[in-house]
């Protein structure tokens, strides 16, 4: 995609649905770095992705456990979803210790909340998603920054057309 693309949702349900749609374009090894304040919708978006990957268990933010792993049925080679939250991580060593960069190479995809504190210790195939709250209560703007074109540009704009924002 062009380095940055933006999408807009107007309700929690839509954020979930958007996450589900994004999950369809994820491949093993991919890390989505989620940036946004408390309540921005990082976890809601991840819940959508998890649902899209066929995960039925309840997904909550792993603020204290830091990394949660969920089994995926192997669709498109994905066997695991790693859901991490670096909010409480205090140093680069601590972030490195979570081994997200190594685990994601084992048939996994990763969603990393507050991942912008230590992107260098995460996996190589990274897409940054900055989430902004809009003017309406449940409005959220998702800015995808995909410098290395991890998502296929044309594919993503078509897939997400209904949420597209110029």
């Amino acid at each position: 995609m062009n380095t940055t693309m933006s999408f807009r949702t107007t309700s929690l349900g839509e954020t979930h649905a958007f996450g589900e749609a994004v999950s369809e374009l994820m491949n093993p090894g991919m890390t989505i770095v989620l940036v946004g304040g408390l309540g921005a919708g990082k976890t809601a978006f991840t819940q959508g992705v998890a649902k899209g990957l066929g995960i039925e268990s309840r997904v909550t933010s792993p603020t204290f456990t830091m990394v949660a792993t969920y089994d995926v049925d192997g669709r498109r080679g994905i066997r695991t979803l790693l859901h991490a939250d670096l909010y409480r991580v205090g140093s680069g060593i601590e972030a490195d210790d979570l081994a997200i960069g190594e685990l994601v190479e084992e048939g996994a995809v990763a969603m990393v909340e507050w991942g912008d504190v230590a992107p260098d210790v995460l996996g190589g195939d990274q897409v940054f998603v900055h989430i902004e709250t809009g003017s309406e209560d449940d409005e959220r703007i998702f800015h995808f920054v995909d410098t290395d074109d991890i998502f296929n540009g044309g594919l993503i704009s078509a897939a997400f057309e209904r949420w597209g924002q110029s």
Partner: protein, 236 residues
């Protein structure tokens, strides 16, 4: 000596039981790297098959890396606990030296051990041969495969590359003269590690908690931590 050897540093993990220089059994799996779930059961099974208890062991042998973080933690915690509980000695070796000392490689050539470190990097170390014995050259390192090959270009010599890191980046080595790839082993073998202890020369660690993993962290990546990430400060 009765030695129980544990291996969790790479994608392949397992255990081996070696008694008086004879490999009684070795159990390895590469499936999904579930070391935490498979390591102890396979160790217990090896002991049960041989009809010996943990207390009868003379030593626990552990690979301390460099290797994958998640595996190393499982292996080292298990080895320390077993050593403490049984009062047997604890012996630690590095993944790269265990790889280089694998019998299948013979001792005629210099070996370059290369393990996949993930995140586009490899762990590497050279081992030369003198009087049929292998000696490490320098310390274990973590580096980009491209940098390793550039360095090999400047000091051409005939050698054998061993390990899953060499295989993963094999095409990068293609232009180098005199470089061979060993088809096996891809990973350090716990039986090899135990045999190295059996032959002597591996120091017994008296304090189990002194045995710690070799992570070889990338200092730049670790230092690049934004304590004051703007988005984080704004909300806390």
């Amino acid at each position: 000596m009765k030695l129980l050897s544990l291996e969790t540093a790479t994608a392949a993990g397992g255990a081996a039981l070696v008694i008086d220089g004879v490999v009684i059994g070795e159990s390895m799996t590469t499936k999904d790297r579930r070391h935490a779930e498979t390591l102890l059961p396979s160790a217990i099974e090896l002991l049960a098959q041989a009809g010996i208890t943990v207390q009868e062991l003379d030593g626990i042998v552990i690979d301390v890396g460099p290797g994958l973080y998640t595996g190393l933690r499982v292996g080292i915690a298990t080895a320390r606990s077993l050593a403490m509980a049984s009062g047997s000695g604890l012996y630690s070796l590095t993944s790269l030296e265990v790889l280089a000392n694998d019998e299948r490689l013979g001792t005629s050539q210099t070996v370059l051990s290369v393990l996949d470190a993930r995140r586009g990097e490899v762990f590497a170390q050279y081992f030369t041969v003198e009087n049929g014995q292998r000696f490490p050259q320098g310390e274990p390192r973590v580096l980009l495969p491209g940098d390793l090959i550039e360095e090999m270009d400047t000091r051409p010599q005939s050698l054998v590359v061993v390990g899953d890191g060499g295989v993963r980046y094999q095409e990068l080595f293609a232009h180098l003269q005199g470089v061979e790839f060993a088809p096996v082993p891809l990973f350090p073998s716990p039986a090899t590690a135990a045999m190295m202890v059996e032959r002597g020369g591996v120091t017994k660690q008296d304090i189990p908690s002194d045995v710690t993993p070799i992570y070889l962290r990338d200092p730049d990546a670790v230092a690049n931590f934004k304590v004051a990430a703007p988005s984080r400060l704004a909300d806390s």
